[in-house]
């Protein structure tokens, strides 16, 4: 073989090694997982995770297209980190949580809180007894937050997603889904702010985010904050 031939053969060997270690081997280990389930007398129950469907699936596309993942991760790390104590999840997330995600939205920066479980009732981003903690983060709260983050979270650094809403003239009765805005943000009389289909899908997606179902490889589910360190 010529000298440059052996050079490129060597280089390709490095490439193959790299691909084998970083992609192929993990694929055989975690790339072919199936959902966990219980089977009793031929009856299958407690299937987790399930393929996302309905409006939440559309919302996932909106989330990706808006680039929410530039500021939000969807990964809860184990007990070496403070993620669980912060209220972002009851257990760490594992590969099985993401098997139906094409593509997965793990995120790499946390300029905002982790959202892996933001749809679960237990999710919080403040200490449990915090005075300013919202009593309920329902869809109406999420719409308000997306429309104008500082309206519900003081000093929030999250940008407004007002472009996912539209201002409409009230015809007859006010729409059911019109935002209930504080006076300083409310539109002029006779107008209302309503979420677009994209905003509704996005909030459906956020509400669907819940990776709390127990999985044996994820270790114990924390009922209370686990002891740290």
């Amino acid at each position: 073989m010529s000298r440059s031939g052996s050079f490129f053969t060597g280089l390709f060997a490095c490439f193959a090694l790299s691909f084998g270690v970083a992609v192929l081997a993990p694929h055989y280990q975690i790339g072919t997982l199936i959902p966990s389930f219980k089977e009793e007398d031929g009856v299958i129950s407690d299937v987790y995770p399930t393929a996302p469907g309905g409006n939440a699936a559309n919302g996932r596309s909106v989330y990706i297209s808006e680039g929410c993942q530039a500021c939000h991760s969807q990964v809860v790390r184990g007990s070496e980190s403070a993620d669980i104590e912060r209220g972002w999840g009851v257990r760490r997330t594992v590969a099985r949580d993401y098997i139906f995600e094409l593509p997965p939205v793990l995120g790499s920066t946390r300029l905002g809180p982790d959202l892996a479980n933001v749809g679960s009732d237990k999710w919080r981003n403040e200490p449990e007894l915090d005075k300013v903690r919202p009593s309920k983060r329902d869809s109406a709260w999420q719409f308000l937050h997306l429309y104008h983050p500082t309206a519900v979270v003081k000093g929030s650094n999250m940008p407004s997603y007002a472009h996912l809403f539209e201002k409409r003239k009230v015809s007859g009765h006010a729409s059911l889904d019109a935002l209930k805005l504080p006076v300083d943000l409310a539109p002029e009389r006779g107008f209302e702010i309503i979420p677009t289909a994209d905003a509704k899908a996005l909030v459906a997606y956020l509400s669907s985010l819940n990776r709390s179902s127990p999985l044996k490889e994820a270790g114990a589910v924390a009922a209370v904050a686990p002891s740290k360190k």
């Binding site: 000298r3 440059s4 050079f7 490129f8 060597g10 280089l11 390709f12 490095c14 490439f15 090694l17 790299s18 691909f19 270690v21 970083a22 992609v23 081997a25 993990p26 280990q29 975690i30 790339g31 997982l33 990706i64 297209s65 808006e66 680039g67 929410c68 993942q69 530039a70 500021c71 990964v75 184990g78 070496e80 403070a82 912060r86 760490r92 997330t93 594992v94 590969a95 949580d97 098997i99 139906f100 995600e101 094409l102 593509p103 997965p104 793990l106 995120g107 790499s108 920066t109 946390r110 300029l111 915090d130 983050p149 000093g155 929030s156 650094n157 940008p159 407004s160 472009h163 904050a225």
Partner: protein, 484 residues
């Protein structure tokens, strides 16, 4: 060692009669590749300005979220667009331009069909443009560093293939490749292979779930560590001996480190996902890789500095000043990357802006500086005149060096500050953010320096591209007492 040195004829000032045939051959090569190389550099510089403007706006948005908050310029779109335009627009086109010139020069010929290279450059740029516009218009993939949609990569890949074919024909020979050729062609080959494999796997859904992220991270980490960094090391192995007129300190050392570099840099990609839902063994290999990478990187940087040692021209030559600065920053960035891969450190700085700082350090502080150095060296040979003004070069150096390092340092400090709080459940999340926020002003200010420096460079470059400069002969040096 000897065959490496033989490629590097003495610096022009000392050329002897025996070099004359070589020189005339060289100017023929330069003339042949000029259109392709200049158009690659030109598009690179345009992307440099555009992506830095984008990045400056992103920096402002970090503390003023309502700044330019239209849907197509919102943070979640502008940030990935800025990063991708920098990596695939500026760094990659400049690297391709340098690759074309260096491979032709070192092979002593230019294959016919340089217009294919120009067309390839056009395709590559078209792909990047498609990618950037797609992200801004709302079509991105949620993979950090690989946000462009598939269509963009297909067009870019087609362009890359044209350039690579030309490179292969030009280079084809039976001689042992020099260190410079090894690093440059290694980088080009890796980029092509990984773009193809990674995008195919992800787009065809051959891998699903977390493995898609692993594949994407493997491509984007490769674009940085196995494409851009090798090319800048290849540039340094070409320029340092050339400009100083001294042979490479140790050829055999350089070769061993080359192989060690490609093996270790190939397994570090998953370090950016450690702590997440990836196999533990993978994170461990990646973290060990980050530490082991210190050997080939610091070794290579040492080899290059030892090559330059004692030469008087190192401080006066613009290319040397940029290249040696970039190499030093590369060393620092690799040390930081090794430290941050330690489990305890990783758990706190992961997910903070530390990673972005490290990336900025590598891209702006190291890679861009070496690329500037290469352009300062190459353009006079293509245009037949010397750079107009040494003060413009000095100002460019100050702006890009201080701006790049300051911006990166602010992000790194912000990451360290917020990271320690992020990993301490007693601190409220808003406190975590506030700790990081204190560095945003410094980060934003760094863009004033960067934009100033880059803008001066762009002007100077444009003049050079239309052959406005000092008469050829005496290279433009930085210290006036060297200008006899």
């Amino acid at each position: 060692m000897t065959e490496v040195a033989s490629h590097h004829a003495p610096a022009p000032q000392t050329s002897t009669v025996t070099d004359l045939t070589l020189v005339s051959n060289r100017s023929a090569i330069d003339a042949a590749v000029r259109p392709a190389v200049v158009s690659l550099f030109l598009s690179g510089v345009a992307w440099l300005l555009l992506s830095t403007l984008f990045a400056a706006a992103v920096a402002v948005k970090l503390h003023f979220p309502s700044f330019l908050n239209w849907s197509f310029l919102s943070f979640g779109r502008l940030a990935p667009a800025a990063d991708a335009a920098f990596v695939y627009g500026w760094c990659s086109t400049a690297c391709l331009g340098v690759a074309v010139w260096i491979i032709a020069r070192l092979s002593g010929r230019a294959a016919p069909g340089t217009s294919l290279v120009s067309f390839g450059a056009l395709l590559w740029n078209g792909g990047v443009l498609i990618g950037v516009l797609s992200i801004l218009l709302g079509n991105q993939r949620p993979f950090n560093g690989l946000e462009f949609p598939l269509a963009a990569f297909i067009v870019m890949f087609a362009g890359l293939c044209l350039v690579s074919v030309w490179l292969a024909i030009t280079y084809y020979s039976d001689s042992t490749p020099s260190l410079s050729v090894m690093f440059v062609s290694g980088g080009v080959a890796w980029l092509g292979w990984s773009l193809l494999t990674g995008n195919l796997l992800v787009a065809s859904h051959s891998v699903t779930g977390v493995v898609q992220q692993l594949a994407a991270t493997w491509v984007s980490s490769g674009a940085l560590w196995l494409w851009i960094v090798p090319v800048i090391l290849g540039i340094a192995y070409f320029l340092v001996p050339k400009v100083t007129g001294q042979p490479v300190f140790s050829g055999p050392l350089g070769r061993s480190l080359f192989w060690l570099y490609f093996v270790t840099a190939g397994v570090i990609s998953a370090s950016r996902l450690s702590g997440g839902p990836v196999p533990l063994w993978l994170s461990s290999i990646a973290a060990s890789g980050c530490i082991l990478l210190l050997v080939p990187v610091l070794g290579t940087v040492y080899n290059l500095f030892a090559t330059a040692k004692g030469a008087t021209v190192t401080t006066a030559s613009p290319s040397m000043r940029f290249v040696l600065f970039g190499l030093s920053v590369l060393g620092v960035a690799t040390v930081l990357s090794a430290i941050s891969s330690l489990r305890a450190v990783d758990y706190s700085v992961h997910y903070t802006l530390f990673d972005n700082g490290l990336r900025a350090l590598l891209l702006r502080g190291a890679a861009s500086m070496v690329l500037f150095g290469a352009i300062y060296y190459i353009m006079p040979r293509l245009s037949g005149c010397e750079w107009l003004s040494s003060s413009l070069i000095s100002l460019h150096f100050l702006g890009s060096a201080y701006g790049g390092c300051m911006g990166a340092a602010m992000l790194i400090l912000s990451g360290l500050a917020s990271g320690s709080a992020l990993n301490d459940a007693d601190s409220n999340f808003s406190q975590v953010l506030e700790l990081g926020n204190s560095y945003y002003w410094g980060h934003t200010m760094s863009f004033v320096l960067l934009l100033g420096g880059y803008f001066l460079f762009a002007m100077h470059f444009l003049l050079m591209a239309v052959r406005i400069g000092q008469p050829a002969g005496e290279p433009t040096l930085l210290n006036s007492h060297h200008e006899h």
